[in-house]
Symmetry: C2
Amino acid sequence: MARRLTPRGEQRRNELIDFATARFAANGYHPTSVADLVDGLGVGKGVFYWYFESKEELFLEILRDGERALRRSQWEGMGDEDDPIARLELGIQASMDWWSSHRDLYVLIEFARTEASFASGIRKGEKVALGDTQKLVQQAMDAGMIPDGNAVVLSQAVLGVSSVLARTQLLGRKRPPVDVAAEVIDFCRHGLGGSSMPARARRSA
Amino acid sequence: MARRLTPRGEQRRNELIDFATARFAANGYHPTSVADLVDGLGVGKGVFYWYFESKEELFLEILRDGERALRRSQWEGMGDEDDPIARLELGIQASMDWWSSHRDLYVLIEFARTEASFASGIRKGEKVALGDTQKLVQQAMDAGMIPDGNAVVLSQAVLGVSSVLARTQLLGRKRPPVDVAAEVIDFCRHGLGGSSMPARARRSA
DNA sequence: AATCGAGTTGACCGCGCAGTCAAGTACGCT
DNA sequence: AGCGTACTTGACTGCGCGGTCAACTCGATT
């Protein structure tokens, strides 16, 4: 695209993005037609195609903008802290704050992962997030702050707990981000926290 | 539907379900047309509507069958074990075994959650899974096997770790179910396992 | 051999979709 | 006031979709 926009154009474009984000999240990407979008805003269809090349391009832009904004939020949240575990916790807190004010993006990203045409972009974003997390986990291991283990798997688990509690507790019930972050952090630190008595569940491999 | 089928009909119906499951998972539900399905099997379009009332009904049936089969697998895996933590672990192991041989269902369920028309059914299934897990966690707390805490949140975290590692480790890289289950169990027991030294990350609420 | 119904065919229908475009309007600049 | 361009309109197009149906095949039963 890269069209030059006047302030008025910029505003209209943002209207379209905001409205589309809400409708995609509420009704799904495919069931939401371009006609739904322009009718919902009370404008002609040409407006849409003045600002976006296609419905798909708009969706990709929503995703890209969202991921970029989340990542920036996480970075700002971590500030200049240098303790890796503390950085992890600050990142989790920042994520929860961000998700709580961008609820729609969560649904959109989950959908995007399920369709071939969008999945590749999502995977790229997830690789970045995993890399960031993994680096912190590895640092914590090297510093002897946590026991050695598979940093990749542990990072995925941390991200998974963040993700699922963001969905259920933050977005589902509307619990305060700070509470949810505390629960995520707690679980990531200690799990269920039982004694190390091994259950007899281990099957013969 | 509830049509009576001859063995031949039963087989054709299963062909359709299997093929549709694969295509929906690979290309997405909406982008896969009924014409794609019948052409892919080399049959006429009427065949589809002989066995299913609509594309949507077929999809719902795939979801229902899948959830039912997973749940039954979990129950069988837990057997007559009565230690709640061991039951949890056996359930996790059974889930991993099941997902590893029903990879497509994972993607389908994730998609179904993102669209209003399917989400309600999925939520119901998730409530059941959460209820089962929560009961075990509560029993473990009552027995003093793990510290007291919010059983709902902890159960969601356990399910989240299972889910994310199933996706990334089991389905993504194709690690053996028994290994992935061990990692899930390990993280759920101890988290990252660091000392309880509190990081200074806690923000003023 | 005749019958019957389960299973199959593919042309067809109406609709709503993404996307187009010729014409028009609002607005800043000179 | 006049001009250029950023923006807007909505009728229109072509297409592919989900779904229908009258006609047909095939195999089991009698």
